[in-house]
């Protein structure tokens, strides 16, 4: 594929809003998750990170899910130094991938039906419960009149969205694409995770454990990348390959492999055969929590490492005998990194990123 250069990144996660907070988190390593009212542990985005009147006044009706996306998307544009006003606003496209969509708001619609009856549903709540409401708010906040699309899948949502962004750029349909993910962890989602997965009650997600049911702490957040095929605008390296075939063993010419461990795909055993022992392995989801679109966070981590030429230590890996773990933070020559993720049928999907 033609390289897709990263011009800007925006991110919001449990330690707040902004790429510098994410960079600091990668340096600092693991921290305690948040604890909800009913005692469940999760990496939730703090309330104060979701207040910014300058942005919110453009999207006053937005729900929490949409706000996560709007802030990360606006920050990606801001990070790129692109002035949207200078640009033909229809030459920039937006793709937002999500696994569970605005499910907390959907539950509010159901609450209305249960509590007040079918004819007393809040129209605003219903409008916010539609999957593409967040994208609509992002388009409004940025004034983007180009193609705006929301996609949803449980596995590999971000990878498929990135592949589509690359297709749009290849076709010459657009000059730039803002591609990202958003997912929210509501009380219902925390409960579902607890029922279906093995939540780490000590709050310590330990990736690469190869347990059948990996210990897991749910997370949430949003991350966006402003990408183009214009190498001059490159700020963080590029996405150079995306392999979604499921038959691939990845690449051997990379300097680091980042594994997306979200527990929903089950054991990481599947990586043991394909990972070259010479190439260090890292997993960072114990920092921001596990969620199905979290692969975008791994790519953000890779982009930062390629830019800073610094490897950040992979936190909380207990079974160091199984892997060549990137267990120390250090300056290092990093030319290429692959981000790998797996699903519940042990299918692997790869993204290669280059300096």
């Amino acid at each position: 594929m033609k390289p897709v250069f990263i011009e800007g990144i925006g991110i919001i996660f449990t330690r707040g809003r902004g790429l510098n907070k994410f960079e600091q988190a990668l340096k600092d390593g693991w921290d305690e998750p948040t604890v909800s009212a009913d005692g469940r542990k999760a990496y939730r985005v703090p309330k104060d990170a979701l207040i910014d009147y300058n942005i919110l006044k453009k999207v006053r009706r937005s729900d929490r899910f949409s706000r996560l996306a709007v802030f990360a998307a606006c920050d990606a544009i801001h990070d790129s130094d692109l002035d949207i006003a200078d640009l033909d606003q229809s030459s920039i496209g937006i793709i937002i991938a999500t696994a569970f969509g605005p499910h907390a708001t959907i539950f509010k619609v159901l609450d209305d039906i249960i509590d007040y009856g079918e004819k007393k549903v809040s129209p605003t709540t219903f409008a916010n419960s539609i999957h593409n409401a967040a994208a609509s708010y992002v388009a409004s906040a940025l004034g983007c009149t180009g193609p705006v699309m929301t996609t949803t899948q449980f596995y590999f949502s971000f990878q498929q969205a990135l592949l589509l962004a690359s297709s749009w750029l290849n076709e010459g349909r657009l000059k730039k694409v803002l591609v990202g993910i958003v997912d929210e962890c509501s009380p219902a989602m925390e409960y579902i995770c607890e029922e279906k997965l093995s939540v780490a009650h000590n709050g310590k997600m330990s990736p690469l454990s190869c347990l059948k049911r990996p210990k897991f702490v749910p997370g949430e957040g949003s991350a966006f990348f402003l990408v183009s095929q214009d190498s001059r605008k490159k700020k963080y390296g590029a996405f150079t390959e995306i392999d979604i075939t499921g038959n691939s063993h990845g690449w051997t010419d990379v300097d680091l492999s980042i594994i997306g461990t979200n527990a929903m795909g089950g054991s990481e055993e599947v990586y043991k055969d394909i990972l070259n022992k010479g190439i260090p392995v890292a997993a960072y989801s114990s920092i921001y929590g596990g969620f199905m679109t979290g692969n975008a966070f791994e790519c953000a981590a890779a982009a930062l490492m390629l830019k800073n030429q610094t490897q950040y230590a992979s936190p909380n890996v207990d079974r160091t005998e199984l892997w060549n773990v990137a267990d120390k933070s250090k300056e290092r020559e990093l030319n290429q990194i692959q981000c790998i993720s797996h699903n519940n049928t042990q299918k692997l999907v790869f993204i290669k990123m280059t300096k």
Partner: protein
């Protein structure tokens, strides 16, 4: 690069196959009635796919079942039944209901007791359209579920076109599906856009939309793949574009700039002038705002004599399926040489500059346009060619 349509699968209230659909169109029959799929206090006729009973997945996954049934029909039509496992085939499907965990009982139990059975969650996790079809058919290739509200079906076809043009796959299964479901039924009611009588697109007395359900699936193929299989095309996907109003969450931009951009973009993509278009299958939901904005844009771009209609009077608003079903109807019309009358339209709104066709109308020429508009300010347009 030309992208060919070699198979079609169409399921809606108008019919479970092409023949039934054409019969409904020809006779002007409107198969709407009171909702039978769930109990409701809201009075609004619905276009249900009555009699649909093809269950590949649990019955509760009605959207996925509709989608897979239409997919199987499209594969049959394209003579692609047996040879697809492991092939580089993309799957792009649009939906709204198929993407949400909206089980009322789950929600009620969870909030009352703090716990609830996982059955509906498990079903939901199984019900993603593209993933479900991808794994059922065991195809390899890109896969995306588009959730762009009422434009999803058209967008999914557009995604497949992008993949084929970029060489990511040789064949793509693209379309959309939605079931009639209580939650959007209540939601559209809350937005004040459900009509309590049969919908009347572009009519002076239009009162809103009727919801429908169904699935439309197109089998898209590269020239190389089609020639290798010695298959004749039914149509060519000639152009596509889409845009966003960046105006309002639920209302269309009154200027219609977004739809105009998408339509002009699709014509440029198709390398055609507006006068090449024989007819338009408009979005025409029969809401006050949609029809007003849409008709004005069509008038601006195509003049006052363009033949157009909305097929929503036959199938209702099928949400995520609409754009794909309507693209399929364009192909039927190009093949048959006629479009049906715009069911429900009687009297022109003086604010609307052009009138849709009121009866079965012969068409000449090779090119059709299908427009879609939707929630969140989405607009999309597809240009479809009938091959010589």
């Amino acid at each position: 690069m030309k992208i060919y349509v070699t198979g079609l699968g169409l399921i809606s209230a108008a019919g479970e196959n092409e023949k039934e659909t054409l019969t409904s169109f020809e006779s002007g029959k409107r198969r709407a009635g009171p909702v039978s799929l769930f109990s409701t206090q809201i009075q609004s006729p619905a276009y249900e796919a009555k009699g649909f009973s093809r269950h590949y997945f649990p019955e509760q996954l009605r959207t996925l079942n509709l989608c897979l049934a239409a997919t199987e029909d499209a594969l049959d039509d394209a003579s692609l039944k047996e040879e697809i496992r492991g092939k580089r085939i993309g799957v792009a499907m649009g939906t709204t209901v198929g993407s949400v965990l909206n089980d009322i009982n789950f929600n009620m139990e969870f909030r009352d007791k703090g716990s609830a059975p996982m059955d509906s969650v498990n079903l939901y996790l199984e019900g993603n359209l593209s993933s479900g079809i991808h794994s059922f058919l065991q195809t390899e290739g890109p896969s995306i579920t588009v959730v762009n509200a009422c434009v999803s079906g058209a967008n999914a076809i557009g995604v497949a076109m992008s993949w084929l043009r970029s060489g990511l796959c040789d064949i793509a299964i693209a379309g959309g599906a939605d079931e009639l479901n209580k939650v959007p039924f209540c939601g559209f009611g809350a937005l004040g856009i459900l009509s309590d009588s049969l919908c009347s697109p572009f009519d002076l007395n239009r009162k809103g939309l009727n919801l429908g359900e169904g699935a439309g699936v197109l089998l898209l193929e590269s020239e190389q793949s089609m020639e290798r299989r010695k298959k004749k095309p039914r149509a060519i996907m000639r152009g596509y574009d889409f845009s966003n109003d960046a105006h309002h969450l639920t209302s269309p931009d009154p200027s219609g700039a977004g739809l105009e951009r998408a339509t002009t973009g699709a014509l440029i993509d198709a390398r055609l002038e507006p006068d090449a278009i024989s007819f338009i299958n408009a979005h025409g939901t029969a809401t006050i705002d949609n029809d007003l904005v849409e008709a004005r844009v069509l008038h601006n771009l195509f003049g006052s004599t363009i033949a157009f209609l909305s097929t929503k009077g036959y199938i209702g608003h099928t949400l995520g399926a609409a754009g794909a079903l309507e693209a399929g109807f364009c192909i039927l019309a190009l093949e048959q040489g006629w479009i049906p009358g715009c069911a429900g339209f009687k009297k022109l709104d003086p604010n609307i500059p052009i009138a849709p066709v009121t009866q079965k109308t012969q068409i000449e020429g090779h090119f059709a346009l299908s427009t879609s508009m939707g929630f969140g300010g989405c607009d999309a347009a597809l240009v479809i060619e009938f091959p010589e």
